[in-house]
Symmetry: D2
């Protein structure tokens, strides 16, 4: 018998719906969602996950499924997993839980993924005011490489990672989340701007019983109703890690999670074959089902030793990550810059979000000159291995953000050139991403520059 075959603790069948899986999935954060598996420190174990939407998106040429997706049901997570030390004692609040991602990949037999932008009325994306319609691109995998019939002429190796991985919050931490996010919604919902920014996307996603899946919590019980009513949504990353979407968190990486409940209760999902920094289109990575092989270690008392809370509670902390030694090597990058002046020409104060938005828009416009539609580039920048940097954050009033794109992913030379090189035959009719029919109004675009 092979000694290091990972113990399969959670299996999924991507052909089944999320609630039909053998070990129940969950799509909310709550301390009272019971563990479905137990692992011990040092043990190599394997977790499988469905894609974040639980199979709502299909391999076809219409974005209708992206348009009508029910976002109250995402993300479908595998777990929680209870972690014990080698003596069988669970991780305790105050510990750090080291999780090494020893290996990971697409689920055998399910080697494909999708990237999409949501309709502005149903989730939107970073550039929803420019790209309000739902779109979708399907990616197929040749081993480490991804390519798409909807975005021809690019092929790149994936830096596979879990978009979402985290420990369960304690009740105290959950209350902090709900309270601060509720305040944000209250402050913003009657205003069209928030922090001076027009907001056309949901300000936050507050607890919602509709769509909740709570693992082993008995359904149609009072307990279910209580938990569903207060459990946090999984959309944002928070103190427990969660949906942090760190694109380099791949093979050989380690995460040091704070532990808030007995056993740590680790959950994960939202596997990405590849993602660009920022994951700008929101459904933005190459989303897929997948597997992870993991190994844990408990650092007793590690929260106090290594983390420092910042805020009114001791719980305001963030995990620490250690990036692994395996990453595709790219030698040449084309870099687009943005400053914190918005598309209407208005000056903002050291706003890195706006600077990054400009950098992404600049890149989209530039690349659209090479035979792509802007929608194609928007999706591509969301999922290819591009790097989004905060280059300067101190030179009042302009933050400078940059987006660096590896040149080698394209089958043509995308650098600016002195000579006019006419587009070759392969660039004619590159086709298009698949779209839905958008019927929303676009009141804001009149303020936006022509794009």
């Amino acid at each position: 018998m092979a000694p290091r075959t990972p113990k399969a603790v959670i299996k999924v069948d991507p052909q089944k719906r999320p609630w039909e899986q053998e070990k129940p999935l969950h799509n909310r954060w709550h301390p009272d969602i019971p563990p479905v598996a137990v692992v011990q420190e040092g043990e190599l174990f394997r977790v499988e996950t469905v894609d974040w939407t639980g199979g709502q998106i299909h391999d076809n040429d219409s974005a209708e499924d992206v348009k009508i997706i029910d976002l109250s049901t995402v993300h479908y997570l595998s777990g929680p997993i209870k972690v014990l030390d080698s003596a069988g004692v669970p991780a305790k609040p105050g510990d750090l839980l080291m999780v090494e991602i020893s290996n990971l990949g697409p689920l055998p037999g399910d080697e494909w993924g999708f990237t999409g932008t949501f309709d502005r009325e149903n989730g939107g994306g970073f550039l929803t005011d420019h790209f309000p319609s739902a779109t979708k691109a399907i990616w197929y995998f040749d081993g480490i490489f991804a390519s798409s019939r909807h975005i021809p002429g690019v092929r790149f190796p994936g830096l596979i990672h879990p978009g979402l991985i985290g420990t369960a919050p304690s009740k105290e931490l959950l209350d902090i989340w709900n309270s601060r996010e509720r305040k944000l919604v209250e402050d913003g919902e009657n205003a069209t701007t928030l922090g001076g920014i027009l907001h056309t996307r949901p300000l936050a996603n507050l607890p919602l019983a509709k769509g909740a899946l709570l693992g082993k919590v008995e359904s149609a019980s009072k307990e279910w109703d209580r938990i569903a009513g207060e459990a946090a949504r999984t959309i944002p990353g928070r103190e427990n890690g969660g949906n942090c979407d760190i694109k380099n968190l791949s093979r050989g990486s380690r995460v040091y999670f704070p532990v808030f409940v007995d056993g740590a209760n680790l959950s994960m999902g939202d596997m990405h074959f590849s993602q660009g920094d920022g994951e700008v289109s929101f459904c933005g990575a190459i989303e897929m089902s997948g597997f992870l092989e993991l190994r844990c270690e408990i650092l007793r008392g590690g929260m106090e030793k290594y983390l420092t809370p910042m805020g009114p509670s001791k719980l305001h902390v963030n995990p620490i990550f250690e990036i692994g030694p395996l990453e595709p090597r790219f030698s040449e990058w084309l870099v687009f810059e943005g400053i914190s002046v918005d598309e209407s020409g208005r000056q903002h104060y050291l706003d890195a979000s706006i600077a990054f938005k400009r950098a992404v828009l600049n890149a989209i416009h530039y690349l659209s000159k090479f035979g792509y539609t802007k929608e194609q580039v928007y999706l591509l920048l969301s999922c290819c291995p591009c790097e989004g940097r905060i280059s300067g954050i101190v030179d009042c009033p302009n933050a400078v953000a940059t987006l660096a794109i590896p040149i080698a992913i394209f089958d043509q030379d995308i650098r600016p050139k002195k000579e006019v090189v006419p587009f070759g035959p392969k660039l004619i009719n590159r086709g298009d991403v698949c779209k839905s029919t958008y019927d929303g109004a676009l009141p804001l675009t009149k303020n936006l520059a022509e794009d």
Copy 2:
């Protein structure tokens, strides 16, 4: 005679004051500052620059010079340089000017640099509410390596780059800058918050005749007064490039600048031996004098071909960068994360600046456990080759920003460890950065968490 010896077009003497240099320097952006040199497409030429403060900061153990610096005089730039094509025809508005940085380095005989944080009342920095006092660290260079008596135990290779390089704005573009920055100041100056953010730093730096240095413009003339009164300050990066502080813009990189005036009028300065993404402490890179060897190419009509304006004018564009193939290789990184919840626990909406602030604060607190003061780490993260990433910008309400620090720059293992490793003798009394005596009030810190 050697055929590729770069033509020395601008020399400086770092022992002289900025206004005593042979070819006059300038510290403002204006189309009417005349060129001091002319180069031709293809020609390799060499430009020397003083440090951005023009010698105001000294190699000693007091931060008093940083505290009292006159920021109305920065940045001292070498140029403008007029660029002709091979037929002698100048670059024209609408062209792109490709500038290749063939080589660059510290000025021979002046191989040292400084990193500082300004006093909160005189410029501040990204974390001025946490670190309101002026501090300073001096760095010495051993060839490609930098080390500091003020931050012992670290040594790293520099990724040398110009913090500031750009073409001259046209009058039309200058007016746009002045107008939008003035509006920002007007909107914000009577409020303590701007975009929901407390602002304790200058909102913008509007035109100011005091401190202006205008190159060949005749001093004590009407022309001088006019130009000084409308010329843009050099602090922020803008459409012309300028102070973009892109840390990877090193040997072998190329920049594609928009051309706004005849001859392009390229200027540069603010050489950095090394900088961290964000340059968080503001005087944040390892600031030095230096030289650049450059080569230009004119892409006629390139602005329309490759750039797309976004805003009410055709001039709202940004340069494009192509990063070179030489970069220090680091295999292991420790990564700190921040989300858009501020230090008081308040939730902000997808604010990457706040998320990055949290990531930096997390890193400072963590590294301060390894024998450093927080001030030392703040300076270190400002100037070491760390990467600031926008990891997620779509998961409402939390933007996720990360700060990745190469582990190899430390002479100790800074990873979280299961066992308690007591600090060795070399860690005791690591000393401290040099400080000024701060006498400002700190009204805001009562709202901030203990750090």
Copy 3:
């Protein structure tokens, strides 16, 4: 259904013996070994392989199995696979066959490997005169990482690759092989030196019916006897690729093989979890069973277009390789040098093999000062991701070869240091690799320097 699930064309069960596998394996090169599978250009397909010894080596603490191994039976290969173009026409002699290694890894459920040195009387290794006994180290895999109870204190990510992959030779090429290798044996067998070098290892491995496994060739037939009598052994790499042991031939790489027979008849095996350049201990990589996901393309007439024969026949060619973009990043290397002066102090003429031998011996001696036995280091350098370079091959009379070892694979700092750092507790009794009892004579070592 997922569209890019690789088609499983050859499966193996590592618990079964080589001749019991569902699709018969083979361990000789011959044009008349019939294909066991057919694939089409563009198709993604999956091949599984047993380890090169077909299960002769076991996960235990004795090297007895290495000592008594029957080398007449290696390497056990999966294939041949016949390749057709998209119209169903087979690859033809004169074509190039591009094979992309889209993905590969250990066989699920069999995640371990071994590294060994053979007894000098049974195969030996590069340093057999210094290390005449059989030894063995067992490696377990944590995802991408390997570690061994027999060589504690090291852990490294694998750069997984097939040690052996190639197309079938034509009869004409086979005859060339047999003829030239027979001549070598004849020239050398009655001499103790060959090319001035003592040879204590087999000069070549000529055709041998004993131990042959010939796939679908009917056993106990005249045909079997004929083929077994003339089929080439698989030990050396040759014109068809074969046992080229190129350590970087990992995920995303491509090989352009010459095609010598109809259908190309591609075979492969000898999977390595990791290997050092040179594979010095002979059984030197981390040997394992495994899987490959592959994709082929036929370049019609490519041999003439891209290869140039050198020798009396048109068939004297070599494949071309294109290395993939994924490789562990190591930033720091310790490099050992050797020159073509042998261990007895004798000068040889530009002999890179001797120079490399010295570099490896230097590295072994150096690393043995850090708590390892020399046998442990010999095995380690054989399988860890070290680089063996021919640095200078022209400076008469010394060739210079170097061996570069990534520092990060050790859990201690192995650099030379000014201060004496006493070995810590974890270094005492690091244990040892498992050994066999060697009973051979050592007549040569009296001529060798003390090691």
Copy 4:
């Protein structure tokens, strides 16, 4: 005053002849060549060197100067430099001398270099039987990049390094060198083969008074005659380092040299802007004048602690190298393979030199299909950043060597392609390297395959 300006200890003027330099150069190894400079541990110092031929090769379009070069005069070295510890005590025999290459580059005002192959009758090169004539290519530098009018269509960043750096031998070590090299010449001079290899190049370069330059040794003295008669030539690398031609020994690298004489007596020269592993054409790097900024440290007793002699004397050791963190990143490589079968089809026994020769010949033939002459490619592979690897050294009878070439250095895509891409206009008439007229006989080529 700047604190880390390197102390200029040796300056050269490349316009002067070697014997006219201010501090006398030397071109032999001998313990009695007196130091010309003294440095102290920790001190940063600067050494300038002439090119290895001392100005015999010129920037023109004829290879006549390469053909008639006087090789009895090379390499011209700067030094010896005596090294003291911080207390003023010299390095002693038995110590290790750590030398850090903090920075290095071309000599300002002399930014060009040359690559050549020698005439077979005057030095030859690795492939002298294929390329018997003298050829030359001139390279100009644009900062970090090199390009040549003689090999158009390639441009690459240099990995600048000293080809030759070493400590002075003791008399005992010198005697060992002379004795073993003399024996090689005696054994080989009356045979046409040595170790089974045809040798058409000098077997070794024994001491020769003609052409000797001995630094401060008084000329026309008995002492001069004695030293000139026994001093070792500088062509090969040996125990003291010397002409090791390690292409990665660039900025930030360290060498740990054995010390054989009081003060260590460090010398260096033969600066290379770039070199391929193997330096195959012999005058094979981009040869130039240059400067180095260095820092030393003495590890007392380090030879015994870190080196292990192998041979009849305690002096049979080699330096250790630590490669720096700065190297051009190349993501894609085309790899050519060779096995130890020579060009006539003859099988050799595990001979890495022959395998590497085949790999280089394969690469030359392949690249000559892209518009280059074979002579151009031979020169290019000698000096571009290609990697020569010993991939397999154990699979009897074939050693496998590989030559990996970074694809990005070419301005065309050199990968094998399915479609025939006709050479574009820029490939027609790529011109040629400059040649001499060769008048030697070529008796061997009748045995060699057509190339």
